[in-house]
Symmetry: C2
Subunit: 227 residues, 2 copies
Amino acid sequence: MQDIKVAVDAVVFGYKEETLFLLCIKQKFGPMADSWVLPGGLVQDDEPLKDAVKRELREETNVELEYMDQLYTFGDDIKRDPRGRVIAVAYLGLVDPKRLELKADTDALDAQWFPIDALPSLGYDHELIFEKGLERLRAKIHYEPIGFDLLEEEFFFSEMEGLYRTITGRAFDRRNFRKKILSFGFLEDLGTFRREGMGRPANKFRFIEDKYNELLAEGFHFELKFA
Amino acid sequence: MQDIKVAVDAVVFGYKEETLFLLCIKQKFGPMADSWVLPGGLVQDDEPLKDAVKRELREETNVELEYMDQLYTFGDDIKRDPRGRVIAVAYLGLVDPKRLELKADTDALDAQWFPIDALPSLGYDHELIFEKGLERLRAKIHYEPIGFDLLEEEFFFSEMEGLYRTITGRAFDRRNFRKKILSFGFLEDLGTFRREGMGRPANKFRFIEDKYNELLAEGFHFELKFA
DNA sequence: AGGTTTTATGTATATTAGACGTAAAATAAT
DNA sequence: ATTATTTTACGTCTAATATACATAAAACCT
């Protein structure tokens, strides 16, 4: 008779002011009580995996995410959980943190965004899971338009630029970047807006998902390189 | 108390003469006895996931694969297994079928390669898993040099061409394809060999993994497009 | 009014992708 | 044995794309 437990964990990234954040909770119960860990927990017998992550995320952080991507299943290390054999199916989520009201809910002592270069030490093997999530994010940014999930619905081009610079860690030419993105044709130009501070006013843009899907159907292939 | 079982399944592709093959077994026991399914089975309590797939593959088909890639974890459909809640961690493997001696081993009635466009109907949700594997294979062929796992150690360029034509389903220019691949610099030219049948004798080539890894370290990025 | 900052747009050049031409080395046909 | 046919090998020209770089416009600051 098999005795293996199945858990789900969420690697949720947020972006704000040139910084990437990871969503963490302080655990209330169990062997890692008072440690920071990724949101997550055991799957219920009659619950699809993807519903389980969403539920845990809601219960522990009050964050609602309509869509998360399956990231990786961690099950090679027999002792990754001190309580016994547990495999974890990890999911990757992206949000603009301004859209969400964070609060430690029923199942957690605290919930907080940490800048990824100033993380607390994480319990279990969750640093490994985080690393895998970051790696995936950095890969995906090149071939899927996921950046828009991390920005506000309406954004200035320089904000998008900053996001890509932050995630890739590379400097690139603003003008060529803008030209490239606009050439895709899935951004709507919302016209000029005053910005706080100095400089010429800038145009805001919005990602048109329908247009993107239409392009995909025509064989379009999103791709960005940052030499 | 959670009651979920954990299984592993293997999507193993082989290539021969312009055809892609899928490795299947005829199940001996259980609700799917006498059905064709993917090799796989329940994970043992003290067994890493990756060891479990390799073990099942060996026990059921006599196939030894040193490396398999995690593909996807199937756990959203509560009733994917009629015996109860089972989630399956699927792995993707690639081999040159000529290198392996196939035989139904202890745990299977039969083991066989099927051309992917002439598959028997598969038990459980294994057609779904196969589809996911095929999709991943077709994606990977564009950005990782996985083709060489499916070819013999030493191969003619036209064989590689046929493989890429088969997997992508597209015609492309032989001359430009060859030029592109050779420009990468990870193939060793083994000189000219007589071929059976007509035509000018051709050079054999070999994939130099060390050279490829060296290139990766220098920032090289494998990429092929088939417009 | 002149300097600074940020945005908007354009152009010239280098690099790469794609289309295509032809010769060489083997077998097959007459 | 000479000529076609098949397959490979190698090269060239052109179009498309990426990269580097120039300049003007619109705001704020002094």
